[in-house]
Amino acid sequence: MTLLRRLLAQPYALALILLILGLVVTALFQPAFFTPRTFANNLRTYLPLILLAVGQTVVVLGGGIDLSLGAILTLSSVVMVQAFGMEADPGPLRTFGGVALGLLVGTLAGAVNGFCVAYLRLQPIIATFATSFIWGGLALWVLPQPGGNVPTVLQDFVRAYFLMPFSLWAVLAILLAWAWFLGTRWARALYAVGGNPQAAFTSGLSVERTRLGAYAAAGLLTGLGAFFLTADIATGDPLIGGPLTLASVVAVVIGGTRLSGGAGGIVGSILGAVAYYLLKNVVALSVFNFNLSPQWQTLIDGTVIVLALAAPGLLRLVRRQP
């Protein structure tokens, strides 16, 4: 009971509720979802969004937002694919060099966003929306059409199973890294800059550097997401990342991180990302079960997203009534 109450008091209570709701409905209508194999496959599909959501959380905590994460993921992914070449085993240099190059490109793109926001003082929403076209355009230049190949060693890596699926290990690693991060002065700086930039400034922190760092970190995490996605689908696609931007924001919001910055964390965003996919799955299931025509899917998806975004505000409205 007390545990339940403590969970409900967490900022990510909403994500948890949606997650459980999604799991229950899925369990009722699609029991096969939970067979180990399907489950592991699904988790692997969720992993890129989880990383984007974590990156988005870092940026949002620092008082910004990055609407180009999906485009960065695409760019990073196509760079990797081009670096790998067409052979199944291009050798360790091209394999690991390709991954490293992709991560570097992601980090740089994030840093450019951060520079625009922190030093040029552009509005985060506008600046990153604009740069998303740069990253997207670059991605089309690097790889004009879907194609390319991913070394088998990488494909096997993300499908590895050691006691539990690889994706769970990855999430565990992220959580451990986050726990470490929270004990550092950089975490204090990030929360302070997002919560009250003036206070951070007068406390002698560099607001600009902190913001730049947050965006660069998000770029790196997005690069990692690009790696998982690319290794999973084993090919390149210059338009793959688009829908993930909004999804990452949704995950952050239902995960309880305050959009204006300074409060929240990645646990909620990870739960939020999984909940997002489960809800989408539920929508797909209902479209199928009720014989709706598939074009309804987008409309329902959108409605569900808006409701999820509105839920924290609605909860507050309900709580305020005496």
Binding site: G183, G195, N196, Q198, A199, A200, T202, P322
Partner: protein
């Protein structure tokens, strides 16, 4: 360069556009000295303190620290040089704990960029211990800064500066939101810090504090230094004369209090609280044409009482009557329609739209009355705003200037003026003169007297006992959400007020 001078500002100038904030201002701080910077709002004393702290870069002049010329490009450099500042505008991050706030930017380091949590904790407890017995139970390392009341936040702010172990400590209006015991404790500590050789710069409006704690004072007026005095060799009158530039003494003019007591007709407003947020069973009546003061230590429920009257704290067990009619305000808009007006204490947070013009701020609550068909009647609105501005003796450039172009005292007049435009019957004032200068205060008192003469009922909370004593017809003293005394006429004395604030018995009901 004299050896004894720890810090020296030499001919420092600063302009903001056309406004000259500082003009060749100089002052010197000795080791182990408390040096007060005095002046009305807009005199440049805060700017001077900010130049010393590296927050504001001067256009001209030099800062010498320990015999060396220094040039701070940001607060970090000033801090590294040993200058710590307690800011007037609170600079805490509400979502971080007290401990994280204290050490923000200079966390005790452990390996790999981590914070040495144990060391931070121990030092935090030692620092909080300095004020433990004059603060509430939530004054603890893990409490979020945003959950603390303003006075305790200010204490954290002070400790944050102290945690730097500075050579120079700048207290910029640091006592404005503290209660008497907290100020007492702070001044005790200032004595200790002085003995350690720190130089302490204090910026304040409170005259009595200067005489309590300062050794010397530099007085500024219109950005220029007009005098430096040893506190032991000066008088209150001389200082006020220097500050205002006139011999006249505006403060506490006794005539502000009408000699005739308010006519005890039927009450304009009466409130009975059985149980509320912070309020625990109290009753009060406000009569037309009287100024009812609320006194007591900080945070004893005075603000909550005002907000309850204004309908901003719904869901409490209370009953309210306006001119005898029972009313229940569930939202400030309902109280406004009934003729109530509330002037908040924190004008920047609750009172003003910083990015908008003076005109818009004035008319925010009353646009409804200025329109012709669906369009706003700007001409009429301007005339009304100008009229109120004149009545308030508002010093401003143009109605379309941003409200942030005004000094603190003038900004507060706008907060008051926007309600006067609605011609309210009851005025609720929540510590309205906090941090505004002597001259603006005097004008404000004058205005209150006029409003009272017009038959308004005014409920006036002030953290300044002198104001309560000189302005109010009656004063209710609150302690922990209850009224401990009602003082009026002969009983309205400083001694009784302080006793009642501290809950010392002896004072019985002051009903005539």
């Amino acid at each position: 360069m004299s050896e004894t001078l720890l810090l020296q500002a030499q001919r420092v100038s600063k302009r903001y556009g056309a406004t000259i904030a500082l003009q060749e201002a100089s002052f010197g701080l000795r080791k182990g000295e408390v040096h007060a910077l005095l002046g009305a709002n807009g005199s440049g004393k805060s700017t001077l303190a900010k130049v010393v702290a590296g927050v504001v870069a001067p256009d001209g002049g030099e800062i010498w620290l320990g015999g060396q010329a220094v040039r701070f490009r940001n607060p970090l450099e000033a801090r590294a040089a040993g200058i710590a500042v307690v800011y007037q505008e609170l600079s805490l991050v509400e979502d971080l704990s007290v401990q994280d706030n204290l050490w923000l930017g200079h966390e005790p380091p452990a390996r790999f960029g981590r914070v040495d949590a144990r060391a931070a904790r121990a030092r935090t407890e030692a620092l909080l211990g300095l004020f433990e017995d004059v603060a509430g139970p939530r004054f603890a390392p893990e409490t979020l800064a945003g959950e603390l009341p303003p006075d305790e936040r200010q204490l954290v702010e002070i400790l944050k500066a102290v945690s730097l172990e500075p050579r120079v400590l700048v207290l910029d209006e640091a006592t404005a939101s503290l209660d008497g015991r907290q100020v007492e404790r702070l001044f005790g500590l200032v004595g200790e810090w002085k003995a350690r050789g720190w130089g302490i710069v204090i910026v304040t409006h409170r005259m009595e504090e200067i005489f309590r704690v300062a050794d010397r004072a530099t007085v500024l007026r219109n950005g220029q230094v007009v005098g430096e005095v040893r506190i032991g060799e000066t008088s209150r009158e001389e200082l006020i004369g220097l500050i205002s530039g006139e011999a006249s003494r505006a403060l506490h003019s006794a005539e502000a209090r009408a000699s005739a007591p308010a006519r005890r007709t039927s009450p304009l407003l009466s409130l009975r609280v059985r149980r509320g947020r912070k309020l625990r069973g109290l009753e009060l009546e406000v009569y037309p044409g009287e100024i009812l003061g609320l006194g007591g230590l900080h945070g004893q429920g005075q603000s909550e009482l005002l907000l309850s009257l204004f309908g901003a704290l719904p869901g409490q067990d209370l009953s309210l009557r306006l001119e005898g009619q029972p009313r229940a305000f569930r939202h400030p808009s309902e109280a406004m329609r009934a003729g109530l007006a509330y002037v908040p204490g924190d004008r920047n947070r609750e009172g003003l739209l910083a990015a908008r013009s003076i005109l818009e701020n004035f008319l925010l609550p009353s646009w409804k009355s200025y329109h012709r068909g669906p369009l706003l009647d700007l001409g009429q609105a301007r005339r009304a705003a100008l009229e109120v501005g004149e009545k308030l003796k508002l010093k401003f450039g143009a109605l379309d200037d941003r409200v942030t172009s005004l000094s603190g005292g003038n900004a507060q007049k706008v907060v008051l003026g926007k309600w006067l435009l609605r011609s309210p019957r009851v005025l609720l004032l929540d510590d309205p003169t906090k941090g505004i200068d002597v001259g603006a205060k005097a004008e404000f008192y004058q205005l209150l007297a006029e409003l009272r003469a017009q038959g308004l009922g005014v409920v006036f909370y002030s953290s300044d006992d002198d104001e309560l004593l000189s302005l109010c017809d009656r004063v209710l003293v609150l302690l922990e959400g209850r009224i401990t005394a009602e003082l009026s006429h002969a009983e309205l004395t400083r001694d009784r007020l302080i006793r009642a604030s501290l809950g010392v018995k002896e004072v019985v009901s002051g009903e005539p």
